[in-house]
Symmetry: C2
Amino acid sequence: MATDKRPSSDSLLIVGSMAFDDLDLPSGPARNVVGGSATYASVAASLYTPVRVVAVVGDDFPESALKMLQGRSVDTGGVERTTGKTFRWAGRYSPNLASRETLDTQLNVFADFRPKLPEHYRDSKIVLLGNIHPALQLEVLAQTKSPKLVVADTMNFWISGERRTLLEVLSRVDALVVNDEELRQLAEDHNLKRSAKAVLSMGPKLLVVKRGDAGAMLFDATGTFFAPAFPLETELDPTGAGDTFAGAVLGFLARAEKIDHGTWRQALLVGATVASFCVEGVGTGALVAVTHQKLAARLRELTDLLTVG
Amino acid sequence: MATDKRPSSDSLLIVGSMAFDDLDLPSGPARNVVGGSATYASVAASLYTPVRVVAVVGDDFPESALKMLQGRSVDTGGVERTTGKTFRWAGRYSPNLASRETLDTQLNVFADFRPKLPEHYRDSKIVLLGNIHPALQLEVLAQTKSPKLVVADTMNFWISGERRTLLEVLSRVDALVVNDEELRQLAEDHNLKRSAKAVLSMGPKLLVVKRGDAGAMLFDATGTFFAPAFPLETELDPTGAGDTFAGAVLGFLARAEKIDHGTWRQALLVGATVASFCVEGVGTGALVAVTHQKLAARLRELTDLLTVG
């Protein structure tokens, strides 16, 4: 794979899950698909910058999946392999892929996950705290040395069950990346704009809201930006698209000369572009095959969607 | 109301319904609200250009509603007043306004509507064929003399029940404006992009897809454009927002010096902006109070949502 990394990329740390997914897709069933938020985010971020990943897997997790990551400049020194089974999720998508239901969740080794940063990870400048227990997100933060940008993800389970700890996380991160349902649940308000304001008052200076095929929005003190989803003719599997989006955004930011208003907006377009490739394949299948040439062409098409004149 | 019309605006004809709406809104019930596609579209279009409207009302329709339109340079000479009751629609919105159910539809005088264009309407250059029976849309077209732009709307009822006549309409219009559900139903495909391609092969050179708070998209041979919905903090009543959008788009196009690629894209942003005001009030309440100063300010905000740098 061609890479496109400036020598001075900021070091990027990604913490999250590695998993097996059993997917009932409109195109047919797919079993034992290697997934998890850390996997998708790392593959996506590695398009732009080297990655350091922290996760836990069981003794059933294929070495080939870790080798694939290593081949993309993903440091897997922080992936703990422990006795037992890897986290497993099973879901069924609706025929039009617009919704899905969880059929089964087996936490397995993920239930006792206590992220430990290898010594050489601690100076990471950019940190993506994937969707894990907020108490663990705080433990990760405690192991880092003055990162310059910390971005957190979370989910409905922690918003309802671990609100106090989650609010502690929010007070300590620079940005939050959630989907629109999670945003509304966190703000306890059905209105997107008011919810965004409420969450920005909880600590993060920046909020990214993922809305599936309705695109992604960026809210900060200076205003709002909208990145459309790339309109695809072939949609196979949306699993991991949100994590792919976040990973690509962080990877792009890590490689940027400076992170300002315009960098963030561009990063959202990059995230939407990379995520679109994810949906075109099952699991990380299409994502790992993306070339920088294809990425650049699609990013131009996406940018044209926003061009008035 | 301040108006902003170049002297040489192209004449705009709008055909559709005038109605009473009974609305169960999260903010409370609203009864006998003057609505209908022609009403919303005319009010919106009149922000940019004089309008000629064709519709039918019963003897219960308030003269004050027609006077309101006349005060906005809407020619109501084509509004037929007939014996009987005006078309009535009743609907209930979900608490977050994201969905609604129809409680009752009484066609009344609308059931026997046969649109008749006054002689001085026949030279209209721009025509909006609102959501009426496709056979009536064809009758309207037959009464016009070489319009330069014809845009049609339609709905699920005609797509499933009058498909052949609707396809005849599609073969004779320049553009179609529908929501995403109608698009998918028309194309018989759940994929938006493929559906758009399919509909463009049915005749229209241009397709506008309304997606509610997910914005609107424009498809033509040259590409795709995306206009986000303006993120509102106060949402009272989405009734008529789609018709308001279409009316504003057509009004803006009628006033434009020329209608090209960029004009259409700008028109979608204008449509999204005007529609946002519609949602902030009940019925046309907020829409009729819009000033060009407020419009311009919000259009700048919406444009900033698309500005990367």
